[in-house]
């Protein structure tokens, strides 16, 4: 396969490494560059007398380098990947050097071992039943303690919410940080980290505009709905119970999810990848869509200190394999199983299964009816033109466009409808540059107030000369 610049960049998680890799991604310092279909390698002159040996297993992709860096990929690996994307003709030798084959073989063996290991799960280790029973008893005791703590924490939170309502939202404006922090800390102590996160966000609403009391009231009300739901947990159906437990922050182990939930096989296309930095932690949110099922999935992974993400996802990449969705009322978050890379979408054409605004809002309302707490809903929206207005960017739908709306009876020929785009000014201009004033297909997250656009495709893709 050929690699694009964008894909190469997506694999280099650390911005510092990317920058240093960019500087190194020129032939002067490299020797013995080569590649096969599944690997690439080269030797890069560094400060020492011996050049560093850098290799990439493209099936992973995985990186190897003889330099002392702890980051994966290191700047040499990043540079080699960029070179591969930019000037594959430079990687001209085709026989892998011995050090590379050795590494590739070792990787192969490790992977086989891993497969073997997963194939014989929990081989009965002649455990005396007594210890097992004791472990079970301890587990139940921990579980009971946890339940008590959580009950106490939720009741405290209810009292705190009632106090706020009694004193009025206007009074919260003068509260110090500790007012919110203390409540959040108590929730964490009571093993309710999900609720703690919601409480921590409350004071930040004050900085989001003059209408903060309305936002705050809405957020408090939604939080209270969650409190009520939690207090009546035993009365809920199983999937609702799962949902509420995840929302308050009861951790669910990936292995348990994969063991209890059905795996959904499909060909998954990556619609949007966004990464955010929090200190040394990189969070990557990937929205995927199944070709057959049409289902959206959100895969969130973390990388610490420049390490690679567990699942190497490329922008516009397609992957055959299974996803397992977290249980709940509205399964969106998913865990990838073994995914096989199928290449990237040709010419970045727009994905299928898009809809107009009326259908989006209909589906969104339906989803809220099932699960009122989710913050963003995946939206693959078609027919809108991004337009700058005095109130910010809007997605304007010309009258009589947008498929389902037009057929929906009432013809409003002299009006257009518009929805708000929640993006920075330059991204709005970028969408407009792609659109040229024509309708776009946009994938983004619908927040209930507007669309946070993530990618846009022009209906008529720009001609690419090759």
């Amino acid at each position: 396969m050929t690699w694009t610049e964008e894909q190469a960049r997506a694999l280099i998680t650390d911005p510092g490494t990317l920058k240093r890799g960019q500087e190194l991604a020129a032939p002067a310092k490299w020797g013995n560059l080569g590649r096969t279909d599944s690997a690439a390698w080269g030797e890069c002159k560094g400060s020492g007398s011996k050049p560093y040996q850098t290799g990439i297993d493209l099936t992973g992709p995985a990186f190897k380098c003889s330099c002392p860096s702890h980051a994966f990929p290191c700047k040499h690996g990043a540079a080699l990947l960029l070179l591969l994307a930019r000037q594959p003709q430079l990687l001209s030798t085709t026989t892998p050097p011995p050090w590379l084959t050795e590494w590739l073989d070792k990787r192969q063996q490790n992977q086989e071992k891993k497969v073997v290991r997963t194939q014989e799960p929990a081989a009965p280790t002649a455990d005396p039943q007594a210890t097992e029973a004791a472990a079970e008893a301890a587990r139940q005791k921990r579980e009971a303690q946890r339940q008590t703590r959580m009950q106490r924490g939720v009741q405290e939170l209810e009292t705190w919410l009632v106090d706020i309502m009694r004193a009025g939202l206007a009074a919260t404006d003068q509260q110090p940080r500790s007012y919110w922090e203390n409540q959040a800390a108590r929730l964490v102590d009571n093993q309710l980290p999900g609720l703690a996160t919601v409480v921590r966000e409350l004071p930040t609403l004050r900085h989001q505009g003059a209408d903060w009391p309305a936002r705050m009231l809405a957020r408090l009300g939604e939080l209270y709905l969650l409190v009520r739901a939690f207090l009546r947990l035993p009365e809920l159906a199983e999937d609702a119970r799962q949902e509420v437990l995840q929302l308050v922050g009861v951790p669910l182990r990936k292995e348990d999810v994969q063991a209890t939930q059905p795996a959904i096989p499909d060909e998954w296309r990556v619609l949007a990848l966004t990464t955010t930095e929090e200190e040394r932690l990189t969070v990557r949110r990937a929205w995927l869509q199944g070709r057959q099922t049409g289902r959206f999935a959100l895969v969130v992974e973390f990388s610490f200190g420049g390490q690679a993400f567990v699942t190497p996802l490329l922008p516009d990449g397609s992957y055959a394999g299974e996803l397992t969705f977290y249980p709940g009322l509205l399964p969106l978050r998913a865990i990838p199983g073994q995914l096989t890379f199928q290449g990237t979408s040709q010419g970045s054409s727009a994905p299928t299964g898009s809809c107009g605004p009326a259908q989006l809002l209909e589906e969104y309302a339906g989803a809220l009816g099932r699960q009122p707490w989710f913050r963003e809903w995946p939206a693959l929206l078609t027919g809108g033109v991004p337009v700058p207005t005095a109130e910010g960017w809007m997605l304007r739908f010309p009258a009589g466009s947008g498929g389902p709306d037009a057929t929906n009876g009432t013809s409003r020929e002299n009006t257009t409808t518009a929805i708000r785009l929640l993006c920075d000014d330059l991204f709005g201009w970028e969408l407009r540059a792609i659109s040229g004033g024509e309708p776009l297909t946009i994938f983004g997250e619908w927040t209930g107030q507007g669309l946070r656009p993530l990618v846009g495709w022009n209906a008529v893709a720009e001609r690419q000369t090759t």
Partner: protein
């Protein structure tokens, strides 16, 4: 949790929300107002803290209802402005990726030249890079014109909609914009006049003559300078009028223009004054130059001939007068007068006690009158051997006058005479005046010299600065096609050139990048 309500006539989400918000702001303790109720969502009556919990529950339900009931904004249909179709091909995928690297700040010195090359090849920036390009060029006025030329239809359409980018579009049209002349800055007005001068020299002169009297001196100088294109004897009256201007800046702008006019009467006057001061004495065996300073001191009458009382290039009042005379008269006049080649004249001049004055003045004159023969003679003479007495000669100006290739044939013999690099080597400054594109045999020889010098590690620290400068200059002027010519001898040295490692890498990488830039134009 109770079931969702089916549509109920009493539910008014907007109004109810406002009522609830009023109560919530003040707090339930202070606000006795009745709370709105959502049918189907009610708490059992005797609950403790009933009022607060009721408010919270209603807030949660109403907020969800309001989100679910989101209505798109309805606006009057406006005329849909659609971008016109493109008329040029965009860059291919590799070109797109290179342009992105340039716009992200790699090899910043190569961007202007690449944008011009794009425009020359009738190519445009791809749509997905337009915002990056416009934002990059926005704060760099020097790039405005080059960027505007590769926007394509889409980019022009886009830039016209964003006030931050409109200035950039203006750069491409500025020259034809009549309003720029009426209301623009002095820079824009000079640009307008310059363009007009190329098309209609007479009209431009009329406009200029009309506004000059009201302008401050600095603007007068800047606007008068536009006369240098299409200069003709029709301009004489206007120029002469400002020869005696109060401002030295204006006089110094007008003077060089006047002496460049064909058969300018001014040159005749200057010649009459200068000729008696520099005489050729023909002896039996040799010819000698005899130089005299003017007999009388400078007075105001000299000003009528454009000679200032002081001139920074020449020391002493009388010497300054002679120096100015010589630097204004076309130098070929002396060669014709004495029937001597420039080289012979320079040799004679070097033997006089006024050598520095004569050579500086003739070099200035050669630059002013664009005399390539004299320029070459001066450069050859200057670099032939160390000329201690002359520290400053306008070498860059002289070098520019030489036809391509001539400068190389001046440099190469010097290079062969001292084929190693050290900071004082004679050919080094001249080599760094050889413009792009360097011919292959020059690059070849310079790389050979570099390789030999860099192989002697003991010397490296001494030549670090000089060699670094040379390598940086080469990255700009060596044609990208000569990458191999440089890489093959230099790359093996990388391991052992501690002080110059980065400079060599940068030269090779830049050449390689330029090679790719050239390739993507054909992609």
């Amino acid at each position: 949790m109770p079931e969702s309500p089916t549509s109920s006539p009493t539910l008014r989400p907007a109004a109810d929300w406002q009522r609830l918000l009023r109560v919530a702001l003040l707090g339930t303790r202070q606000s006795p107002d009745e709370l709105p109720a959502v049918p189907g969502f009610a708490l059992p009556d005797p609950t403790p803290e009933h009022r607060e919990k009721h408010a919270l529950l209603t807030a949660g339900v109403l907020s969800t209802i309001r989100k679910a009931g989101y209505q798109p904004i309805v606006a009057a249909a406006s005329l849909a402005a659609v971008a016109p179709p493109e008329t040029q091909a965009d860059l291919g995928p590799n070109g797109t990726q290179l342009l992105q690297q340039l716009l992200e700040g790699q090899y910043p010195e190569l961007l202007p030249e690449f944008l011009s090359a794009l425009a020359d090849n009738q190519r445009r920036a791809p749509h997905q890079l337009l915002v990056l390009l416009l934002e990059h060029a926005r704060s760099r006025p020097a790039l405005h014109r080059a960027a505007a030329a590769v926007l394509g239809q889409r980019g022009a359409w886009l830039a016209a909609q964003n006030p931050a980018w409109q200035a950039l579009l203006a750069a491409s049209e500025q020259a034809t914009e009549e309003t720029a002349w009426e209301t623009g800055t002095i820079g824009q007005r000079a640009l307008y006049l310059e363009a007009l001068r190329r098309r209609e020299p007479a009209h431009a002169r009329e406009l200029l003559a009309a506004v000059l009297p009201q302008e401050p001196a600095r603007h007068q100088a800047q606007l008068l300078a536009t006369l240098q294109s299409q200069l003709s004897s029709d301009d004489t009256p206007l120029l002469e009028q400002y020869l005696t201007a109060k401002s030295k800046e204006v006089r110094q702008t007008v003077m060089p223009l006047l002496v460049r006019l064909p058969d300018a009467p001014l040159v005749e006057q200057l010649w009459q004054r200068a000729e008696p001061l520099v005489r050729l004495k023909t002896g039996l065996l040799s010819k000698k130059l005899l130089v005299e300073l003017p007999a009388t001191d400078w007075d105001k009458t000299w000003l009528l001939d454009g000679i200032e009382q002081k001139d920074g290039r020449f020391q002493g009042e009388k010497a300054a007068v002679l120096g100015q005379l010589l630097s204004l008269i076309p130098p070929r006049r002396w060669a014709d007068h004495w029937h001597l080649t420039p080289a012979k004249i320079l040799d004679r001049a070097a033997d006089t006690e006024w050598a520095a004055l004569l050579l500086t003045a003739w070099a200035e004159a050669a630059v002013l009158h664009q005399d390539a023969t004299w320029a070459e003679a001066l450069l050859e003479w200057f670099y032939e051997q160390p000329r201690k007495q002359l520290s400053t000669l306008p070498t860059a100006g002289l070098a520019q006058l030489l036809p391509p290739g001539r400068l190389t044939s001046v440099v190469l013999p010097l290079l062969n005479a001292t084929p190693h690099l050290h900071p004082e080597v004679r050919w080094l400054p001249l080599l760094q005046l050889v413009p792009a594109p360097w011919p292959e045999h020059l690059t070849h020889r310079v790389v050979e010299v570099l390789r030999d010098t860099l192989s002697k590690p003991a010397e490296l620290y001494r030549i670090q600065y000089a060699a670094g400068q040379l390598l940086e200059y080469m990255a700009r002027v060596v044609p990208a096609a000569q990458y191999r010519l440089c890489a093959e001898p230099l790359q093996p040295l990388l391991q052992d050139v501690p002080y110059l490692h980065n400079s060599v890498v940068r030269l090779l990488n830049t050449l390689h990048f330029r090679q790719q830039l050239a390739e993507v134009l054909l992609e």
